[in-house]
Subunit: 296 residues, 2 copies
């Protein structure tokens, strides 16, 4: 990882921590539950994409920081709710007890609700609005809302629930993933562009890159569920097979799935051709390659 | 109820319905679950307050409609999550099976998540931003986020959970209610003011009105839990006593609680003195009196 990217990641961590301060309020346990999941060493890929695309399109990443952090809050809330007993009922997340195991179901539910809400508080705070400009702030926050909602991430969850225990065709799997995980990754790139005031051509290229790595990301997830270990993954390996889920691996086979990841990664990198900033481009190339070759 | 207010309520219903259209999407059950709770004949007090205060401060209620509807979406999501087994575990809401009884816990959880998110999609849609202006749209949406989040409604829920089964002092009860139910009612008045471009004096008066009716509303809830019937309430009467909850009635006695509602209602009405529009004022007086004397 390059030095500049490491600095961005550091800034993301510091800001995330600052957005959920410890407190003596009567509801301090809520903030502890929020911090537990938000500050647990996630890869921060989504916020990084916001900042990188903001830079790539000539904007100032500083102004995009609240939006980058908001995206991570939305991602974190979705993981907390996903792990709940009425959903995937997962006891482990990133190698630790999942939120409801640590804090109880009621607090986990509310911590998720509060993180989703905090995302919008953060993007629409007076400081954030002044920094980014009201027009861009409103547009970027609206983009995240659309990506996270019924026609995006939550819709994808519902398709996933409806597909449980049955074989689904590749087309359904792809729609599900475009909603469930793809939408937030796409939103990351779009938000970076909006905050930088990017032109249409730049936005299109950013979306191509993000769509490609988003799909590749999901296919790698399916591959790792088959080839990874519970220890590496920080969550239970083999759970797709246990749940008789259709995945890219079951529908394409392991080899084809791996090849598709390679193809998508190349597509993503090619989409960056129109941009000039070699330094940011090389970081985004590295990111795409890292996501394709990761083992957790 | 006056004719103009009836028209506003009609517009709210139509808009709410339009924001969650029926669909053939793979996730159509999600939208059904959202519609089930959103379009179930609620009193629409919060959205009405947004529109009335927008008018009272010289704004156009039309431009505030998306924000009024968004507030009702947030209120509805909170009821769905509140009713879940890991929270209050209520089977009945407004005289019908609660959302998770009708759709299952997983869909109810996600319908709540999606309604919270839809609130921000709605306020920050391109049309809404153009109508209201980006600055006012961002500020109003930010106000709702703060009111609904960890330091507002969700924080209040957590205080409520932490107080379960134990006696709490009046001060704690008041902080809890200011967060849990007061914050959204206050936000309604504030959002109306923001969208109308109200001045500081107008905002202060609006907030005084809203704080007073918000607290009165909660005290009436506690009174009705003792004096109302399950049939009238559309939810189980006497549940506070069953749960050994501290309420205004247990802490003040029934008579003092009733007197406080009367005092608060007068305070609310007095706060409107600074405004000129007699028609809107009389509607807000009527609303305050209705809330104080309601039987459900």
């Amino acid at each position: 990882m390059q030095e500049r990217q490491r600095l961005l990641l550091q800034q993301i961590e510091q800001k995330l921590e600052a957005y959920v301060p410890k407190t003596n309020a009567l509801y301090h346990r809520l903030l502890e539950a929020m911090r537990y999941s938000l500050l647990d060493g996630g890869k921060r890929i989504r916020p990084l994409l916001v900042l990188e695309f903001c830079r790539l399109c000539g904007g100032e990443p500083q102004k995009a920081l609240p939006f980058a952090c908001a995206l991570e809050m939305v991602h974190t809330y979705s993981l907390i709710h996903d792990d709940l007993p009425c959903m995937d009922n997962d006891d482990i997340r990133r190698g630790r007890p999942s939120n409801h195991k640590a804090f109880g179901e009621d607090l986990a539910l509310l911590a998720g609700d509060a993180l989703l809400t905090l995302a919008f508080e953060t993007m629409l705070s007076p400081e954030s609005i002044i920094q980014a400009g009201a027009d861009r702030a409103a547009q970027a926050a609206g983009t995240l809302a659309c990506a996270a909602g019924a026609h995006g991430m939550v819709g994808g969850q519902v398709i996933d629930l409806a597909s449980e225990g049955q074989q689904v065709p590749l087309e359904t799997l792809q729609i599900m993933d475009e909603c469930k995980t793809g939408a937030l990754i796409l939103a990351a790139a779009e938000m970076g562009c909006i905050l930088a005031g990017a032109n249409e051509q730049q936005k299109q290229a950013a979306k191509q890159y993000a769509s490609a790595i988003g799909l590749a990301f999901q296919i790698v997830d399916d591959i790792l569920d088959v080839t990874g270990t519970t220890e590496d993954l920080g969550k239970k390996a083999g759970s797709d097979a246990d749940n008789q889920k259709s995945t890219y691996v079951t529908l394409m086979g392991l080899e084809k799935a791996r090849q598709t990841v390679q193809d998508l990664t190349k597509q993503a990198i090619r989409a960056l051709d129109i941009f000039d900033d070699q330094e940011v481009k090389s970081e985004l190339v590295e990111l795409a390659e890292f996501l394709a070759s990761r083992n957790r």
